[in-house]
């Protein structure tokens, strides 16, 4: 459990000293009351919301938590109007938080409060292009004792890594505009923006990182991998001591196969990562081609059509893939096998039914007699105790009739199975109807894809005639990338096959009745004369390994199912009664150890993420964040920048209401527009309010914002963000804007805060 209590920010970009009213920066206290857990930080765009999020990230993670910037223009966290001539400036972020003492090593659930202070000094530096450089960061973690006996801790990074792992930074500190990262793709209504679509691989990685970490799967996996090595070490020691040639030879074969398997797994990982990089590069290059083409002569329309067709092709490809998968699943459907084997199953049923009706099968009687023997009591009341003559007679009869009785029991099961399979054929046309439908849809989709491909070919040939060196270079680069991706796919298939082959060699294939090398080695070791304590240790190690693997499978199956159901429920609540009702079901698809969020329409077809609008994608992201926190029983803050952007009406209310209701400590950074239509929910859930005012929005700065939303009373001569505690119903001398004037219409009557 982690609760944020307060943060103090000083000299961090636009957070300086609150217009001179505080020499120690600006402070925020967060709501911790379970009845009103929401902290609202209200701000117009470009007033410091994202900077606030970054300040928190820097406070927790340091340099790696903030943007890098460009090599010649690094991202500066010093005050905006600071100049090298002003001399060194110190930036400080101080965060106070509490945990329930459950920090991994501690067993006692006792609340502990900490303050983490991070500092860095930016100094003039003539050697750099920017004219400044940052010194080394310092950070200090203090644990506050009940009696004021504070203690400086030496393991700040370790505690933070445990409470808020860095790779989950987007999970706990979510930038609404980038929240799409969890669901992947570029929103349909943001197609005009110059954003690069996340590849499916990258989206899977983001989702899988969060799932694997919060559910403890990665820890189980790491422990399993280490234990596998330990088992190998023990096996080798035992084999070396055994003196048996067979054991030694089998051990060598196992070692060789394991080494090869590890090598191939490393290759697979590299290939996957390389493919993801190529995919991103290709998207960037294609975007660059369209941009370049649009800038040449009268080719803007051609570039626009090319871009539109590329998007359409992506959708069509996704659709075809889903339809092909659905067809594959249908081929594995039991109803197909039953339909094909119908005459044989019917013949079995007809033959066995009379025997079943007469009570000849299954042979329940033998099982009954065996139970009497177990209970040592005959049906007549006589004892069937061990050594008695009656027991011996009964045992002999059981032995004689066992073969016949076992056969009859088996026939009974066969009859029951045939009955069940035949009853599943109630709608004989069901399977072929579904197959016809899918084949028809796939054919249509294929025609559509061919049509798009033909038009794209025509466009490409037209572009081929455009004489432009830059364009030609980009097109060549794109063709190279496409070729590399195809080559990588071929290699991936090959390596996956080799890995499967090695796994079967090591562990066998139960379906083929094939015994693996490991099993053979175990049997040989068991027969050899070996130090028994080590052998027992090895057996225990194998039991521990099986428990770890089963625990992993159990969590991966049970908790992922729960997560999918919860996401589905939360998402349904969020988008209820909206235009996106056709987004019917949320699923989580498992790919080996990775997970992918999938959404289906009312017909059961997968909807490509790129075809979903921004509001629904935000809802999906929040459903994932909230759902996973609940399934993992994680109690931590969710700091979200513009969570309600792109949403309106019932979707906005659903998104807001559901997220706040299910988060243990929501901290929302909202624009005034986002607050519209959820004012009553704010009154219900908000325990703390703040308003950020960017002083550069004052008219003196010439920042008009289309003539509205200007800051009326400039309080600070600096380019800083001032903080007041006005709610959405209030204004004060600091935050009052042009739109707050009484003469303008507004959704909520405002009152002046004294």
């Amino acid at each position: 459990m982690l609760r944020l209590h307060s943060v103090r920010i000083q000299n961090f970009v636009c957070f300086v000293d609150n217009g001179g009213t505080s020499a120690s920066g600006v402070s925020f206290t967060f709501a911790v009351d379970p009845a009103r857990p929401l902290t609202v930080i209200r701000a117009q765009n470009e007033s410091g919301k994202t900077t606030f999020l970054r300040a928190l990230r820097w406070g927790f993670y340091g340099e790696k938590g903030i943007p890098k910037g460009e090599p010649d223009k690094p991202w500066g966290l010093q005050p905006r109007d600071w100049k090298p001539n002003d001399g060194p400036v110190e930036t400080t972020v101080s965060i106070t938080f509490s945990t329930d003492g459950m920090t991994g090593r501690s067993e006692a659930p006792v609340e502990r409060r900490y303050t983490l202070v991070r500092k860095v000094t930016t100094s003039p530096d003539g050697r750099t292009l920017s004219g400044w450089s940052r010194g080394p960061e310092s950070r200090e973690l203090t644990r506050h004792g009940d009696a004021g006996d504070d203690q400086v801790m030496g393991d700040a990074d370790e505690l933070i890594a445990f409470l808020l792992p860095f790779r989950l930074r987007d999970f706990y500190f979510t930038d609404g505009d980038k929240a799409m990262d969890y669901v992947g793709g570029k929103a349909a209504d943001r197609a005009d923006e110059d954003t690069v679509m996340l590849s499916v691989t990258q989206q899977r990685e983001q989702v899988s990182d969060a799932v694997n970490d919060l559910l403890g799967l990665d820890m189980l996996l790491r422990a399993t991998e280490r234990l596998e090595k330990v088992i190998r070490k023990l096996e080798k020691e035992i084999s070396a001591e055994s003196g048996s040639e067979l054991v030694k030879r089998l051990q060598e074969e196992v070692d060789q196969a394991v080494d090869e398997l590890e090598k191939k797994q490393g290759e697979l990982k590299k290939l996957r990562s390389s493919r993801a990089g190529l995919e991103t590069d290709l998207q960037k290059t294609e975007a660059e081609i369209n941009k370049t083409l649009a800038g040449i002569g009268n080719h803007a329309a051609l570039a626009a059509e090319r871009e539109q067709l590329q998007r359409a092709r992506k959708l069509a490809d996704d659709e075809q893939l889903q339809l092909t998968k659905a067809l594959g699943e249908l081929l594995g459907d039991t109803s197909l096998a039953v339909a094909l084997a119908f005459p044989a199953i019917k013949a079995v049923f007809d033959t066995l039914k009379p025997k079943f009706d007469k009570g000849e099968i299954p042979a329940y009687y033998l099982e009954y007699v065996r139970r009497l023997l177990r209970d040592e009591q005959c049906v007549c009341g006589s004892p069937l105790s061990h050594g008695s003559a009656l027991r011996a007679r009964v045992e002999t009869r059981v032995g004689e009739s066992a073969a016949v009785a076992d056969r009859d029991t088996h026939l009974g099961y066969v009859y029951q199975d045939s009955q069940r399979l035949l009853s599943s054929l109630e709608r004989p046309a069901g399977w072929s109807h579904r197959a016809d439908d899918l084949v028809r849809k796939r054919r249509q989709s294929q025609k559509h894809t061919e049509h798009i491909a033909k038009r794209l070919d025509e466009i490409e040939s037209q572009i081929g005639g455009v004489k432009d060196d830059a364009l030609e270079g980009l097109r060549k680069h794109s063709a190279d990338l496409q070729r590399y991706i195809a080559q990588t796919d071929v290699k991936l298939t090959g390596v996956k096959g080799e890995i499967e082959h090695l796994r079967i060699r090591l562990d066998g294939d139960q379906s083929q009745g094939m015994e693996g090398l490991r099993k053979r080695l175990q049997a040989a070791q068991h027969k050899a004369t070996i130090d028994k304590s080590k052998q027992y240790g090895l057996q225990a190690a194998r039991d521990i390994l099986s428990v770890m693997r089963a625990s992993y499978d159990h969590i991966a199956s049970r908790d992922i199912t729960r997560l999918a159901l919860m996401m589905d429920e939360l998402f349904g609540e969020m988008i209820v009664a909206s235009a996106d009702r056709n987004l019917a079901r949320v699923e989580i698809i498992k790919h080996n150890r990775e997970y992918e969020i999938l959404i289906r329409d009312a017909n059961g077809q997968a909807v490509p993420m790129s075809a979903i609008n921004g509001a629904a994608r935000r809802a999906l992201t929040m459903a994932f964040v909230v759902g996973l926190s609940r399934v993992a029983e994680t109690d931590a803050p969710n700091v979200v920048d513009t969570p309600l952007g792109m949403s309106a009406g019932v979707v906005r209310r659903g998104l807001f209401g559901v997220t706040v209701k299910h988060s243990s400590q929501p901290i929302f950074l909202l624009t005034r527009d986002e607050i519209h239509n959820v004012e009553d929910l704010l009154l219900q859930y908000a325990g703390q309010y703040y308003t950020l005012t960017g002083e550069w929005h004052a008219p003196e700065w010439g920042h008009s914002h289309n003539g509205t939303q200007q800051v009326l009373n400039r309080k600070s001569p600096r380019r800083e963000t001032l903080v007041c505690d006005c709610s959405h119903e209030e204004y004060c001398g600091v935050c009052r804007r042009l739109e707050d004037l009484d003469t303008l219409p507004k959704p909520t009557p405002l009152r002046m805060k004294i």
């Binding site: 445990f162 422990a223 234990l227 330990v230 225990a540 039991d543 428990v547 770890m548 159990h554």
Partner: protein, 75 residues
């Protein structure tokens, strides 16, 4: 215990009965203890010498093996 440890322990207790095919509750307990110890070591892997972790893993296996040996159970 953290929430994550608590959830993992619950899972371990759920799966052990179907996997450890011996009657002794002591052995099941020894296996549970070893799994939890290994998970704890894995969590704090950055602060413990890697060779030491391996030694502690082996020691956990041998100590569960001792319980098994004491029971006279075999494969």
């Amino acid at each position: 215990m953290s929430t994550k440890d608590d959830r993992l322990t619950r899972t371990i207790r759920e799966v052990i009965p179907s996997l450890i095919d011996v009657k002794s509750p002591e052995y099941r307990l020894a296996i549970e203890r070893s799994v939890r110890q290994m998970l704890r070591l894995t969590r704090h892997h950055h602060e413990v010498n890697q060779t030491d972790i391996n030694k502690q893993f082996i020691s956990a296996c041998l100590s569960a093996g001792e319980v098994l040996s004491g029971m006279g159970e075999d494969e």
